[in-house]
Amino acid sequence: MTVWQTKWAPTPRELAACVECGLCLPHCPTFRLTGDETASPRGRLNAMSAVAAGTLPLDSAFAEVMEFCLQCRACEAACPSLVRFGRVMEGARAEVAAAFPREGRLGRRVAGHWLESPRAVGVATFGAALAQRIGGRHWFPRRLRVGLTGLRRLPLRRRSIRGRDVGAGSDPVATVGLLAGCVMDPWFAAVHEETIGVLVSAGYRVVVPDDQTCCGALAAHDGAADDAARLAATNVQAFAGVDLVVANAAGCSAHLAGYGHVVEAGTELASRAIDATVLVARAIGAGRLPQLPSNGRRAAIQDPCHLRHAQRVVDEPRSILRAAGFEVVEIDPDGLCCGAAGTYSVVRPDTSFELGERKAAQVRAAAVDLVASANPGCEIQLRAHLGSGVRVAHPIEIYAEALHSARDHDLAGSG
């Protein structure tokens, strides 16, 4: 007789994969902050095992231990026993949601339903855009303020890249389907435009299927597993016809790569999923995109956890920055989470803030005026904690800008 209620629960096999060696502990941001076993990956897995065995109840103390986790998956990259911590934690969060349907309901509602609706996101975007213009940030609760501070300037009118189909003309290398995403589309329009431009320059046909939806990562992380499965199923359909499924937000590309755990038909899509930085870096390596000469400037790299830890993508964003002419400055040898972590910054503003300040201090110590980050959450967090002196941008955006100015320079030179 098990206490678990959902089909997403951690399986005995998944839990048995942990041998409790403790090598994950120093890689865990919450363990680093607290020194507390119950805030460590090993502790969390042990808590799940104890609940599964009936030794501990599935109570609010258990929920607290699960919800303190950032789900950054740094432990996963450190684990010699190859525990799939991200998947197991999503299962545990689904169980917590089932056991405590009232707590955290709003967050799950947002992640599981609102984000898939361009209209709902559009209303929120409009509100935030207004606040940016009339300076009403202080009306918002503190937990939302950091996010608002870190946003790019939002447009008042909604626009979208959905339905786009470019680069079909000249015998494309492959057709890539670009994930528009829930907030990437209205909040990071420039990143999308530059991604499309760079991919087309690299010889790809880029389509943005109209019937796609939010990838479902936030829903899965917050315990809305059934919603995540529904969203994934929609995307499996929407992206059926393309060679590669590309996302330029690390949280999304990591989740697409894990679709096999989310929905039955997801394994096939996962095999075609790829982060945009990987695709662009490959194109640069293959000579389909140019390597620009050094511009003598330095740029720091911030590794989104779901790129570095979840997908083990480390070299690619760096090689993109170098190809854009920058000297790459490392800021954090461990790639400790910046504290953004999806909805974490809203749900647990204090822990998120502490981690954000740590990351900002590392950037300041590097004395750069540009930081590259390939994930929207991290970008917002970095900008909020760094203030206006340091620019934060997506690596592909930085590369695209370098391409434009090289082109302008050429035109000016030949003209």
Binding site: V19, G22, L23, P26, T38
Partner: protein
């Protein structure tokens, strides 16, 4: 068991609410380290300094509870596992580092992670030499408690050789400092008694460590052999040639295969045994010593010799070695990582016996070995959910210890005695030896307040006053 309410109240008054935890979930998650024994925890405390540790010691004593210190919980012998319901002192929040660059020393808190210290001093060209395989996670307090070694203790010596002074809290709550900056402190050398005492004399709150200059040159190489005996013969001959390599490690085939799945270092998975050798020092010496090791290896039939081309490859080789003990869950859910010592020249015999013991008990065994100093780490891989398996594994472990001692070796190389080998102590110590150790311990902790039931077996004292010792602790 629910914590006594007023114990927790008193602790909270001393440490604040965030310094004490005592919910069933906390008690459960802190009741075990990386080994196979589980104990019982009443309350978990997170003091930030020696004064707070002293307060916890006095409060626990007033309420009649023993005290067990714990760092990151990476120990394998149960040294941080209470043998009876206890108050836990977790040292992770005592993590200050104050480096004295001119003297190449540092005062560090017991909660500092071993590798963090070396990383923090890297820009000064210094490191902390003891490097247990869990160094990325284990704490210096635990290293002091267990007198930890690691691959590089072959040339550099173990923790006791790198600790100059220790501040600790004794059973009366007094804060003592033993040792000092001088290499040979005046008076009785209590510092060397505290190092390796496995938390039975007091709780260490600060450590003065010696920092070692990073060597100007390092060469690291892998040698693959189609027979374990060829690898073992290479080890013996390298040492006999007069070279003391910085490290000389061996892994057998099942181990190499498990590790390769994690590190993807293109390890020679077809080899019966792989040696990992490292030499360091001045460039010319390093080149010459590497040549000797390689030619000895080739003479003994090495099928492949791979020299790390750059720092990245070197670190990958070490990552392979140092993740060995965690990498086995791909094969079975539980492991029992053993720690014994044999004379280096009897490695082949010892391995054959280990394989035979495993065969007899129908267990899978994988070996990582600090070959240079004969420190064996057989890992018995099993599924603890199968009834009776753990007992079979434990009986195999006892046979391995007995074999090691028969070959002229000893109980433990570096993990400590803990609860794990307490009852095997009489295999190597006489009643008089044990009595001396018990009396030494009681000079600091007369009531066995600290880690009772650990290290010394019941009846160690010739005049034993029937103290409660570990019910349910195994072996």
């Amino acid at each position: 068991m629910p914590a006594a309410a007023n114990l927790v109240e008193d602790l909270r008054r001393a440490l604040g609410a965030e310094g004490v935890r005592a919910e069933p979930l906390d008690q459960r998650l802190f009741s075990k380290d990386a080994g196979v024994t589980r104990g019982e925890v009443v309350a978990v405390t997170f003091p930030r300094n020696a004064v707070q540790v002293s307060q916890v010691v006095l409060i626990a004593a007033r309420h009649g509870y023993p005290i067990v210190a714990r760092g990151a919980g990476t120990g394998l012998a149960g040294g941080a596992v209470p043998s009876q319901p206890a108050v836990l002192i977790v040292t992770t929040r005592m993590d200050d580092v104050v480096v004295d660059e001119a003297n190449r020393t540092a005062w560090v808190g017991p909660g500092v992670i071993n590798l963090d210290l070396s990383r923090r001093t890297a820009s000064l060209g210094l490191h902390f030499a003891p490097d247990p395989s869990s160094q990325a996670a284990c704490t210096l307090g635990g290293n002091v408690a267990c007198n930890s070694g690691g691959p590089h203790c072959l040339a550099e010596g173990s923790t006791v050789n790198h600790v100059l002074a220790v501040e600790f809290v004794d059973a009366r709550g007094q804060i003592l400092t033993v040792g000092g900056t001088a290499p040979d402190p005046a008076g009785l050398d209590v510092r060397s008694v505290v190092v390796g005492s496995e938390g039975t004399l007091g709780v260490v709150t600060r450590i003065l460590v010696k920092l070692t200059p990073n060597p100007p040159a390092v060469k690291t190489m892998l040698l693959a052999f189609s027979k374990v005996s060829d690898a073992a013969a290479t080890v013996s001959e390298v040492i006999a040639s007069g070279i003391v390599p910085a490290a000389l490690e061996m892994m057998d085939q099942p181990m190499v295969r498990a590790v390769e799945n994690f590190v993807h270092a293109d390890l020679p998975v077809a080899a019966a045994a792989v040696l990992l050798a490292e030499v360091n020092g001045h460039v010319a010496a390093v080149d010459a010593e590497a040549d000797v090791i390689i030619s000895v290896g080739r003479r003994h039939g090495a099928t492949e010799v791979r020299l790390a081309a750059d720092e990245r490859e070197r670190l990958l080789m070490w990552k392979a070695r140092k993740s060995a003990f965690g990498a086995i869950a791909q094969i079975a859910p539980d492991y029992y990582l053993h720690d014994t010592v044999i004379p280096r020249n009897r490695l082949v015999e010892a391995l054959e016996e280990i394989y035979a013991i495993a065969r007899r008990k129908d267990l899978l065994v994988m070996n990582v070995i600090h070959a240079g100093d004969g420190n064996l780490h057989p890992q018995l891989v099993f599924d603890g959910s199968v009834p009776g398996q753990l007992e079979i594994v434990k009986s195999a472990a006892v046979e391995i210890v007995e074999m090691s001692i028969r070959l002229g070796g000893t109980l433990s190389g570096e993990h400590g005695i803990g609860l794990e080998k307490r009852d095997l102590m009489s295999l190597v110590f006489s009643a008089v030896d044990l009595d001396a150790q018990a009396r030494l311990r009681e000079a600091f902790d007369q009531d066995h307040r600290f880690n009772p039931g650990t290290v010394l077996p019941a009846g160690s004292r010739c005049f034993d006053f029937g103290r409660s010792v570990a019910e349910g602790a195994w072996v």
